[in-house]
Amino acid sequence: MSILTVSPSPHTHSGQSVPKLMYGVIIALLPALAVSVFYFGIGMIIITAVSVISCVIFEFLFQKYLLKSSPTHLDGSAALTGLLLAFCLPTNIPIWMVMIGAFVSIGIAKMTFGGLGNNIFNPAIVGRVFLFISFPAAMTSYPEPGQWWKYLDATTGATPLSKMSESLANNMTVGEIMNEMPSNMDMFLGKMMGSAGEVAAFALILGLIYMLWKKIISWHIPVSILLTVLIFTAILNVGNPDKFPTPIFHLLTGGLMLGAIFMATDYVTSPMAVKGMLIYGAGIGIITVLIRSFGAYPEGVQFAILLMNGFTPLINKYVKPKRFGEVKHG
């Protein structure tokens, strides 16, 4: 005679799990990883491996010895943070610097808030910004693509965004500056200076398509960010074409694609209702354009995302999903 289990409905489950989602995002990042390795060679492999392994190990250590809870370091979220962090770094920074970034990302931005699900700010970006502020020289010199066997000794240069920013400050016009830039197609394919994951827009878009197909994320955040940037940079460019670069330039350079597709879409730190996602995306887009066009830094996406992460709890509180049978009180 079988013993029957009695538990409340539902008695079936979709099979969806945290590892499936996290490793799904990691798979979506593989095309971009492949392109980065293609352009930056051994440097990319080293910093990616160090970042991922450090993040996973730090998560295990923090969970076991600080939080004293059962470690979940293999659920894919730490590995994903490690991968995203590596994508924001120049591929010629030393190993110890990468490890500090991992420590800050996992330990400070994630574990001190209570672990997965409880953090307010995107861990990878917090780690990246920490390194950026602490080691400004190392974090703003990027290797030229094509030096496969050079790591710490790679020849460096400025990214298109920082070059644009500097040259504008020197009173060159956009038209003149664009002559010294890689072509739009080169930038789309990633043949430019930049941190690992910034470079190949097409590979990142492939990742977006994969995630949409697997229903890992919805289109609302990436589209609202990119559309907002497109609209505002178009307005500025039309207003003063000598001082403000074209929308295409903005879309293809810097961490915008990576940020819009993989960082801003982080579940924990982004709003939950669809309307909230659109507001959040628009906010990121506007702040990015403001910092890039009028601010002191050439790149604004990382700060834009962190600022809007801060607004997410407020957005979640006041922006509700569409209710069924909403009774409108006149």
Partner: protein, 443 residues
């Protein structure tokens, strides 16, 4: 483009493995146990005592009020015992246990299988017949049908919606009923249309039943005012509110009923029962029950007398598999797990689902990812992660404001959650507390 509802929904594996099994009449068991409460509302009042001789179709418990229903004997024989027995609700409740002797029917009931197409009854007469026959919603809700047919003053019905969606995975009782009794169902629809005084009826069927859709369409073509609509396969399309939204693009207001927007919906099984009651004077004493599951030898659809122990159905389907972990009354999304297979079939038993041990346990609960999949899945536009969180913290006032009472407990949220969080469990807890709050406020 198939019609569907716009908010939420999930698509579990359909598993309609018993879809093509012809309805088999289950042989009478030696003993039946008939609970006196198989419906929403007041329990019926006992009319018989131990030792009484009973005929099939005889009233053994009388309706306990307006929102209540008569209980009829599904067999002929002698009353063995009147006591509390476990029923599918999970509780022990008053039931009449009858020793089955032969199959002698109460006088006046037409037991022939011939189709009777014409009827001359008025709306009031129809509603009275449905009331005395103990007809309740057979989709599972078991709401007394005569109450739904009695339109309150100030409201008017425009449409009759026939719910033939059967969106729960595994269940095929409505499907098989449509394939074999479509003509009777059409008569039933016209009877209900007269009762409601409406001129338009729409039958909603999910697209995974193409043979039933074809059959019903063909018959509806020669019926004035009756149309058949195929719907996209998405759970919970069979939810009343989702069905009305998909078919008419009207939303039942929060806290309201379909009649508020001129619609009355009935399950197709209830409509067949109404045909039997009005045309054959036959009360609700049997129904089609699907017996199914991945390990059963022969999943089937059985015409079963109310009160038959579930064990009899499982035996007829090849016996209880050795790897059984759960026996569910209903489907996998909203059905109730049973504690024993001696529990009887009641009016709301649309199916018995036997699932293996390996699939009978919850997964480990992880922390909330704030992935918002529960929000995307909720057909009522609620935020299950928030409702669970508020329930955990006993924030009952806020729960009411977050519309927790709109939740229809369909299970889509718990089904979807990647962290296997017990969302619906906490929502049910919260709903209970908010109900108490509302009740206290009224006093």
């Amino acid at each position: 483009m198939l019609k569907t509802f716009s908010l939420g929904g999930v698509h579990p594996k359909e598993n309609k493995i018993s879809a093509h099994k012809k309805i088999e009449v289950l042989p009478l068991p030696p003993v039946v146990t008939i609970p006196i409460s198989q419906h929403i509302g007041a329990p019926a009042k006992l009319m018989v005592s131990k030792g009484d001789k009973i005929l099939t179709g005889q009233v053994i418990a009388e309706s306990g009020g307006f929102v209540s229903s008569n209980i009829h004997s599904s067999v002929s024989g002698t009353v063995l015992k009147i006591d509390s027995f476990p029923d599918p609700s999970g509780y022990r409740r008053m039931a009449v246990q009858i020793q089955v002797e032969g199959d002698e029917w109460f006088p006046g009931i037409d037991t022939t299988p011939d189709l009777k197409k014409d009827f001359i009854f008025t709306s009031e007469e129809i509603i009275k017949k449905i009331n005395t026959s103990g007809i309740v919603g057979l989709g599972g809700a078991t709401f007394p049908s005569h109450v739904k047919l009695s339109i309150p003053n100030g409201k008017k019905a425009e449409y009759l919606i026939v719910n033939a969606v059967e969106c729960e995975p595994w269940l095929t009782s409505d499907h098989s009923l449509m394939l074999e009794k479509a003509e009777e169902i059409m008569v039933g629809i016209r009877i209900m249309m007269r009762a409601l005084k409406v001129e338009k009826a729409i039958v909603g069927i999910e697209n995974n039943k193409p043979d039933a859709i074809e059959k019903m369409c063909k018959l509806a073509a020669s019926e004035k005012g009756i149309s058949v609509v195929a719907l996209k396969v998405k759970y919970p399309q069979g939810g009343e509110k989702q069905l009305v939204k998909a078919l008419l693009n009207r939303e039942v207001p929060s806290g309201g009923l379909p009649i508020d927007i001129g619609v009355v919906a009935f399950n197709v099984g209830s409509i067949y029962a109404a045909y039997q009651a009005v045309q054959k004077n036959k009360p609700l004493i049997e129904r089609v029950v699907t017996v199914t599951g991945p390990s059963l030898k022969s999943p089937s659809n059985f015409m079963t007398r109310i009160g038959t122990p579930i064990q009899a159905l499982i035996d007829a389907a090849g016996g209880l598999p050795g790897d059984t972990g759960k026996v569910i009354n209903g489907g996998p999304m909203m059905g109730k797990a049973l504690s024993s297979i001696e529990i009887p079939v009641v009016k709301g038993s649309s199916g018995i689902l036997v699932i293996p041990e390996s699939e009978s346990h919850r997964h480990e609960v992880k922390s909330c990812l704030r992935c918002s999949k529960c929000i995307s899945a909720c057909p009522m536009g609620l935020e299950p992660y928030l409702l669970m969180s508020l329930s955990e913290r006993n924030m009952t006032d806020r729960l009411e404001r977050e519309k927790i009472m709109d939740c229809m407990e369909c299970g889509s949220c718990s089904y979807t959650c990647p962290s296997s969080r017990p969302l619906l469990d906490y929502i049910r807890l919260g709903k209970g507390r908010v109900s108490q709050l509302i009740k206290a406020r009224k006093n």
